[in-house]
């Protein structure tokens, strides 16, 4: 069995806002093993970014409250850790690639210096040695003429090159956990694939575990081993890639799958979308959060369905939906494909 890197149990994140308490993350549990890629999928506002940023302690503020545990390497709890302990962990053991490479790099420091700064924050080595390593890293992520380019400022880099620099920075200390928060969202479609491949390949090389956050199920299919689907702060379904793609149990997952356009199939006449919008987290619906948008909702849905295994012989395939597995399998087919039936949506 592979080494367990991260064990998140019952993670809760609550923010105090002007209009009341916002439960951004509600009882999220998952694990990450060495060499594994776990994808967290959801719309904006689903709590996926908050989940991963909380693991790095980046959501700490006087207005936030946390619950649950997140154990790194089996012992250290990232939620309870002091700021000083976290400083030693961040960048060294857990590294993060952010969504927007344009704003995520300091505009007034040279790219190379920003990577050197991270290396020297954790290792006592000379500037020159750190710079050599930086240049190596930059070459490894595919930045040409790295020795010269290390002296450039972020505004002199293209978006794709900046994201490569971010990846080089994240990998600079060979972290055991790599978190990629929508790393390709801000990039051109042509570059997205390259960046994805690089993240996947480099993490396999260094044998680290990757948490991949995205709103795009299509991206997940290429690289993920396991998938968590989040909706309005809760995990609504989790399982292996095959389980999620070929036997999805939650209507929200059907909707997500239904809205993925696929090259190998005939394009649909209308691009399917999930009707309605994600709920306000201040005023969350009673029971299942997806209920107001769900065409299959029935009276039991006003109770919160527990996240549990419902499919036979699939103990790790969990979901939060009251429908029976047979009903689900019947109802998720729209025109012969998986999707969310339109019409008959309440409200």
């Amino acid at each position: 069995m592979a080494e367990r890197l991260l064990d998140v149990e019952h993670l809760q994140v609550t923010f105090a806002t002007e209009d009341g308490m916002v439960r951004a993350v509600d009882d999220v549990s998952f694990t990450l093993d060495r060499g594994e890629v776990v994808a967290i999928v959801g719309e904006s506002g689903s709590g996926k970014s908050v989940t991963v940023m909380t693991l790095m302690g980046l959501t700490r503020s006087p207005n936030s409250r946390f619950g649950g545990t997140a154990r790194l390497g089996g012992d250290r709890d990232l939620i309870a850790a002091s700021e000083e302990q976290l400083e030693g962990i961040r960048g060294q053991e857990i590294a993060m690639i952010f969504q927007d490479p344009i704003s995520s790099l300091s505009p007034v420091h040279r790219i190379g210096d920003q990577i050197v700064e991270q290396i020297r924050a954790h290792e006592k080595i000379s500037k020159a040695a750190a710079l050599d390593r930086t240049v190596d890293l930059m070459e490894r992520v595919g930045i040409p003429r790295a020795r010269d380019r290390a002296r450039a400022y972020p505004h002199e880099f293209s978006g794709g090159m900046r994201q490569r620099a971010m990846i080089a920075m994240a990998l600079s200390l060979s972290p055991s956990v790599l978190i990629a928060d929508e790393p390709t969202t801000a990039l051109d479609v042509t570059i997205q694939a390259q960046i994805l491949q690089e993240v996947a390949q480099l993490s396999k090389e260094s044998n680290s575990g990757v948490i991949f956050v995205t709103h795009d199920l299509g991206v997940v299919a290429d690289i993920a081993d396991r998938v968590l689907v989040m909706y309005a702060g809760r995990v609504v379904e989790q399982g292996t890639l095959d389980e999620i793609f070929y036997d999805p149990q939650h209507p929200y997952t059907w909707g997500l799958l239904g809205s993925v356009t696929r090259m190998d199939r005939e394009p649909p006449r209308r691009l399917p979308a999930i009707p309605g919008q994600p709920p306000s987290l201040v005023n969350t619906p009673q029971g299942c959060h997806f209920r107001p948008r769900c065409p299959h909702a029935f009276d039991r849905c006003t109770e919160v369905p527990p996240l549990e295994a419902r499919v036979q012989d699939a103990p790790d395939h969990l979901d939060r939906c009251w429908l029976s597995v047979e009903e689900k399998r019947a109802r998720r087919l729209v025109d012969g494909r998986i999707g969310l039936a339109t019409g008959s949506v309440t409200a």
């Binding site: 006087p62 995520s104 300091s106 505004h155």
Partner: protein, 316 residues
């Protein structure tokens, strides 16, 4: 860089010219303004006034008067009307006093504002932040002359810790120099400390939420390093531009209130008395003096800005 210097040089000439023309023309437009009568004195008769007017060239057309005055200024021969003193010499003599007042005060307010603004932002919403912000808003609400009067009352009369007025040159005695200037430094600095620390605090709080600051934290840098190298570094830019302009105008005589209250013989005090007497030559020289520093320090601020932020290029 050469282009930058040339363009700033041109803009300096333009501003000096515009300033001198506007100031000169302004006084000509006032119907009751008659420098000849002022020079001749209160009891002079019409012939004396006419004589003075001819002697000083006040009967010539305005552009000739302007040209003559400019010539006198740039050859260093212009004299004021009230005391027949050489204006350029007065500025030369008095400038060291103004420098003694303004440079330490400037350093003091900049350092204090950065420290207090940072403290306030780091402890945002807590007691230290509230205290600093109350002091800052009080600082921008109190006029310099009132603060100076209050300081004099408290620390020169009630508690005789400091001398009430007077100036001792640095060469005579550095300690006496500082001793006589502490209250003036403080009263000049308070307004700017209040203003700058408020601006800096709001810049810092905006900057803290920037993505690159989150990246810096995610790199595992210490809180101190995140703050100094990333947050503060990027928040100081607007402060620099403000400082350049404020410092320039103070050198040019904007310290006139402080210099008057504390009786410091600087350029501001001279300008204040010249303004009271509508003595045009010192006013004119003072305005051009200020314009000169405004351009110089504006350019210096831009150079510093470009050094601190690689995205900015120096243009004219």
């Amino acid at each position: 860089m050469a282009r930058f210097v040339v363009r700033r040089g041109i803009s300096m000439i333009a501003l000096l010219f515009a300033t001198s023309v506007v100031v000169f023309a302004f006084f000509e437009l006032i119907p009751s303004y008659n420098p000849a009568r002022a020079i001749a004195g209160r009891n002079a008769n019409a012939t004396t006034v006419a004589e003075v007017s001819r002697k000083f060239g006040f009967d010539k057309p305005i552009y000739t008067q302007y040209a003559n005055t400019m010539k006198l200024i740039f050859t260093g021969q212009v004299i004021d009307y009230q005391d027949d003193l050489n204006v350029v010499d007065q500025f030369k003599q008095r400038f060291p006093v103004t420098l003694s007042l303004v440079i330490p005060a400037g350093i003091f307010w900049l350092v204090a504002a950065i420290l207090l603004g940072s403290l306030s932002a780091i402890r945002a919403g807590r007691i230290a932040d509230r205290a600093v912000m109350v002091a800052a808003i009080l600082g921008v609400s109190i006029p310099v002359f009132l603060l100076a009067a209050l300081l004099l009352y408290l620390f020169a009369y009630k508690l005789p810790w400091f001398p009430n007025t007077g100036y001792v040159t640095f060469a005579q005695s550095p300690t006496q120099w500082a001793y006589h200037l502490i209250l003036p430094w403080f009263s000049i600095a308070v307004l700017s400390i209040g203003f700058y620390s408020r601006v800096l605090r709001s810049n810092l709080l905006d900057m803290v939420n920037q993505d690159f600051v989150r990246t810096a934290k995610a790199k595992g840098l210490s809180q101190r390093r995140v703050f100094t190298r990333h947050v503060l570094r990027n928040s100081l830019m607007p402060i620099i531009t403000m400082f350049g302009l404020d410092f320039a105008t103070l050198l040019g005589g904007a310290a006139l209130v402080t210099e008057t209250v504390f009786n410091l013989p600087g350029v501001g005090q001279y300008e204040a008395s010249a303004i009271g007497n509508l003595d045009v030559p010192p006013i004119l020289v003072g305005a051009m003096f200020t314009a000169f520093f405004v351009v110089i320090f504006g350019a210096l601020a831009d150079v510093l800005y470009a050094l601190l932020d690689p995205r900015i290029r120096l243009t004219g």
